[in-house]
Symmetry: C2
Subunit: 322 residues, 2 copies
């Protein structure tokens, strides 16, 4: 595929993904909280993808990619590099399809995430924690004949992640707004396809310390270097090519938030729902709080993306704001 | 009501409660986890009452009692004593009915729980942390004309708590077993009524350090003194009179678990669902693990009762078993 014309999924690809993976994914609950609504001044419906299998939305895209391989008659092991949720999601998706998943992980990856990949049947290949080493580690696996499944810049991944928003709008008509975090852009890409199809406004939420997508939107093209500095470890990636094209078309605005706002949002969410969410998920709640004029009185669907954080780390990140 | 013939709810009272409170309560999700199923050797469906309003099932009984008052034309403030979830549940239920709730709380109650009562609109009356002082504090409020709503030994409370199991069996046919924790017995009482109505086996789970219900079952009458010593703070109460009568009739066995098993179960539940639950809730998971011969290969519905624990306390309770 040439960089000038990448293959972009559309809403029919999201429906196709839904058909493929509906029996594999958790139909995650949609939860509301009076307390959060009062704090945020809107009617918030949280699509709880942090209660998805492997603790994050990532399982949707990974399983869509793997089932698509099966339907296309392509056998063999899959491979990726990941410091986080995509790795364990791909491990589980592959395992359910009787395949092996090889996951290149930086040797400073958290024990929690390494354990998750292994528990889901994946084979971990450690590398030094640089982008170059991660990519060369993956390149070796691909040379060995394994099928690469990238974490976000991929037709099936974007379409698969969109199924969370699809379930949300199907079960909750009348939403004014959909909002999701943006890192590489898999989740917001799929979410924006669904929003556009229903005439719903889509916003992306991004840490100011990893605001390459906001910068890219301002410039009209992808920035290709940005040194991310944020506690939201799931959002440190640069936005992908396909992802950015969809965001440009269908996302109204990328809303940036500061680190302290993310920490406060983690505490706020816990206070009213008693659930711990990753900083990458709290970015959405932080955006609702920081830009109230956009959300006031609206019916807002938010994708809560992941809960893969150890309570100890959650405490360390939030103790200053409690 | 004489002690010889207390008014006992039956399944029609649970349905009546369901009618009363269905628009007030969260229809909590039912979640499953492959990992938990593999660990426990059964097909476990968790009714997530820890995601109920106020973070625990207690809101069901409290709102059933308050709405019943309204339907009976009885106005005025309500009152209770509580060191925990019943207080905040009654505060919210009263507040939604434009009533005041007075809650007598021991002066060593956790800040989290005092905050929860106040945030839900309740008025806190501190007393010293003895049963005598709690009861005399409540007696003064009742003398002042307020309506007492006890936490578990009450027709409407038991019937209201049963609505969690009712929702569970309505949405998930084919359960072999229902299991819930027992403290005062409101939750297991209502759960057992539903189980009996459907021909489902009911088990109660109880900490060995607060096993007055197991002892009472063995003796054939309620023990009236037991010094509870358990981390499961929600289960330290002695089983109530009405509650015990229902348990005797409809609960097959009270399964006791040790403190270390409760701590391990908290970690196990978090590992596979990424949710923090109170020790009182983890008692059920601990029982599934300790008595595998009762559950092996069965379809088991478990009421996960509450999530009102600060992450700091969760860590302190679990750090030795991780």
């Amino acid at each position: 595929m040439s960089p000038e014309s990448p293959d972009l999924p559309d809403i029919s690809a999201v429906w196709e993904a839904h058909r493929r993976i509906r029996s594999l994914v958790n139909l995650t609950p949609v939860l509301a909280s009076d307390g959060l609504n009062a704090e945020l001044g809107c009617e918030l419906l949280c699509k709880c993808e942090h209660l998805q299998r492997t603790g994050a939305f990532k399982f949707r895209g990974a399983s869509n990619a793997v089932v698509h391989l099966r339907e296309a008659g392509i056998s063999g092991a899959v491979a990726t590099h990941s410091s986080g949720n995509h790795g364990s999601a791909l491990a589980l998706a592959a395992s359910l399809d009787q395949r092996t998943a090889h996951v290149v992980m930086p040797d400073n990856a958290s024990a929690l995430k390494v354990d998750a990949v292994r528990r889901n049947g994946g084979i971990v290949h450690f590398c030094s924690p640089t982008q170059t080493d991660r990519e060369s580690g993956l390149a070796r696996l691909v040379q060995a004949g394994h099928i690469p499944i990238p974490p976000y810049d991929h037709f099936d991944i974007i379409a698969g992640q969109g199924t969370a928003a699809l379930e949300l709008v199907e079960s909750n008509p009348g939403l004014d707004i959909l909002i999701a975090p943006v890192g590489g852009g898999g989740l917001i890409g799929g979410t924006a396809l669904v929003a556009n199809d229903r005439g719903i406004i889509a916003y992306a939420a991004e840490p100011a310390g990893a605001a390459d997508t906001a910068a890219s939107m301002a410039l009209g093209h992808r920035v290709n270097s940005f040194h991310p500095d944020t506690i939201a470890d799931g959002l440190r990636a640069l936005v992908g090519e396909r992802n950015f094209l969809i965001i440009q078309q269908h996302v109204k605005q990328v809303l940036t938030v500061e680190e302290e706002e993310i920490r406060s949002a983690m505490v706020l969410f816990w206070r009213y729902t008693r659930m711990l969410i990753e900083p990458s998920s709290a970015v959405v709640i932080a955006a609702l709080r920081r830009y109230p004029h956009l959300f006031s009185g609206k019916k807002v669907g938010a994708i809560i993306s992941g809960a893969n954080i150890h309570p100890r780390e959650w405490l360390a990140l939030t103790e200053m704001v409690e």
